[in-house]
Symmetry: none
Subunit: 403 residues, 2 copies
């Protein structure tokens, strides 16, 4: 018997879905303010959508589980992030627009400080500046030679952070981290976790040895720590799963990369939020689905800057008419996870979502779009990956299941 599958139910039409993702949107009341940022913000344009919308609270992974950006976005795009995991190395590559191929193994690396006994004294090399990083990466790229028919890429990410990529046939991705996550001990040797990863581990060990020799004259950044070895995950593309031509409008490389990972066409990076919305609206007819990413709600939350988060939400609300004028048939407004300014980090709290669909929604007539009202919204509380099939349904892009 056939499994239930969205892919089998998909049907094409000319209806348009916009996914406006305010990164880290959800929150908890900020100490002394008694409100979340979404509650404190004046969101009159968003609230005006409520009579034609259904709302709810969505768990990016599971209740109580705090997602990274990878799992959060996979959930948004309809993937169960417990099934499809993106390694840190791969995410670092996506984050600098490095195009990983199927034969590549990627790892994130940090420059670190080693003492004369090779014990780690600083796992981040005193957070060297990015210019220093660029200079050191150039040295490593030019001087390190690896055996076998393997290509090495060493790339700057920022400050002490870098990307390490090996490209060649037969390189397995399952290699253990060399970062012991503490100081006072030497780096751990890279160890293959299966037979296919043996060559990867050997070459990584050689990279580390040569890097320490080349960097031996540096005061702070005289070593490297590698973690999150991985290959590109085998994720089905959105256009294979849904009856959609998908486009992405995002400024930050990581989100552009995740969008590319699931097969979206990624438009050129817009300069700011207004340019983001204008680009999305202008591309309405070129796609069935547009992922529209706003970063600074998350950044403000991670900085613990409640007022900034309020301002970013208000800016998005003020610019919303640009998107509305493009007349999407379905407009989803949500986040990939919560980032409460009170906690200064991603959190597990479910993210509020609004699905505006003037022709097909069963409205829940909430008074305001925020965490507290969404609690009693028409969608109740669901895993985030279900939101995508709700969006498809409201755009009449799913056929009836069964006769």
């Amino acid at each position: 018997m056939a499994d239930f599958s969205i892919a089998r139910l998909g049907t094409r039409n000319d209806k348009k879905i916009f996914y406006l993702v305010l990164d880290g949107l959800g929150g908890i009341p900020f100490p002394g303010r008694g409100k979340t940022a979404l509650q404190a913000a004046n969101t009159k344009n968003i609230d005006a959508l409520l009579p034609q919308s259904t709302c709810g609270l969505f768990d990016p992974v599971e209740p109580g589980i705090t997602p990274g950006s990878g799992p959060g976005h996979l959930g948004l795009f309809g993937y169960d992030p417990r099934k499809y995991q993106i390694g840190r190395g791969v995410l670092s590559a996506l984050g600098i627009d490095f195009s990983l191929g199927p034969d590549d193994v990627a790892a994130r690396f940090n420059f670190c400080t080693l003492d004369h006994q090779r014990n780690i004294t600083d796992r981040r090399a005193g957070r060297i500046d990015t210019d220093t990083n660029v200079r050191l990466v150039k040295m490593l790229s030019e001087q390190i030679k690896l055996k076998g028919n393997v290509e090495l890429f060493v790339k700057t990410v920022s400050e002490h952070r870098g990307l390490f990529v090996l490209r060649g046939k037969g390189l397995g991705g399952r290699v253990s981290d060399t970062d012991p996550q503490k100081t006072g001990v030497p780096p751990i040797d890279p160890v293959a976790q299966d037979a296919q990863a043996k060559k990867t581990a050997e070459l990584s060990g050689s990279f580390i040895t040569q890097a320490e020799r080349i960097l031996s004259g540096e005061e702070r950044a005289n070593g490297v720590l590698l973690r999150g070895f991985d290959k590109m995950p085998d994720i089905p593309k959105m256009h294979e799963l849904y009856p959609l031509k998908c486009g992405a409008v995002a400024t930050y490389p990581m989100y552009r990369g995740v969008a590319r990972l699931v097969g979206m066409e990624v438009l050129p990076p817009p300069a700011d939020m207004k340019a983001t919305f204008v680009m999305a609206a202008a591309n309405r007819d070129n796609f069935d689905y547009l992922f529209i990413h706003v970063k600074y709600t998350d950044k403000a939350g991670e900085d613990g800057n409640f007022d900034w988060k309020v301002k970013v939400i208000e800016e998005a609300d003020a610019l919303l008419p640009i998107l509305l004028d493009a007349k999407p048939d379905v407009l989803v407004i949500t986040g990939d996870h919560s980032t409460p300014a009170a906690l200064r980090q991603h959190s597990w709290h479910p993210v509020p979502a609004l699905l505006f669909a003037p022709e097909t929604a069963r409205p829940d007539y909430l008074q305001s779009f925020d965490e507290d009202h969404c609690r009693v919204g028409g969608f109740g509380r669901m895993p985030l990956y279900v939101l995508m099939q709700l969006a498809l349904a409201h755009a009449m892009k799913l056929e009836k299941f069964g006769a």
Copy 2:
């Protein structure tokens, strides 16, 4: 790539989780009263926590499924009770503080009445009193001899109920019940359900034959019916799953036993509810997680004594400041299942839960803590085993999932 697992996300800190379990807490409106016991009770101390709490309704097993005490508590501790089942024999052993080892097979037995054709006339031997039970168990323990290198334990539980344990190498646990669950027919012979259980079935048959001979002079209790053969289930310990040192404060043996089964350190039995709360508060710094069990909400429900249930809840509420003064970072108040006085038994109705976490909760601002308000609480409706990961999250004991 690694599977999703709570165990991999755990991180230790000094935050404290208290789980106050009012056994059988949930209810339905009592006839003529129009309220549940939790609604009728004055719970001003609990209600004062609501502005810093999130609430919800939790299904111990699945909607519509009434749990026994074993599954109810496994759910509380974060185990899916459909995956981990505790046999009746094992639960009986836990209930009398009998320490089962890995080579033991346990079954629950009832004394019964047999007629001269060996047909059962009373499956509970006229509910003989416990003193009689003790006298008969002594006779069986002293006189029955089993072949092979196997040790026999026969123990009184109460009235007609007893515990049967075989200890020895190579004893399988899968033996069928001998209780036909009706009268007018003879007991069923114990049958091995797999090859490993053959010896267990033979020895159990020998036990039954000898018991009937020894008890042949008794008027009522002249036979035994065995059911729920089982070995100790292979359940991972809480400290293997979570970054927690776990302690239990409970008066009743069964709950002490279930706590021991999942690896908690069980403190000496307190005399009453006040002593229970005082002991928990005094042990705040010795554990990361404390399971605090109150029995009489359930007992009152099973007795159909609505007013008593209200009183027990009010007593817990009045004593709550003892726990609050110990400043837990997370305090969960819930039950292991519902026991409506109207039904005089455990029920399937989801159990209300409150999670108080002053620093990390997204409050749902309910007016009162009861079944009806929890329905629109921030957690919505979830399986009970999810509550544990919510508690861990709110105590900041889970790392971010994915990069």
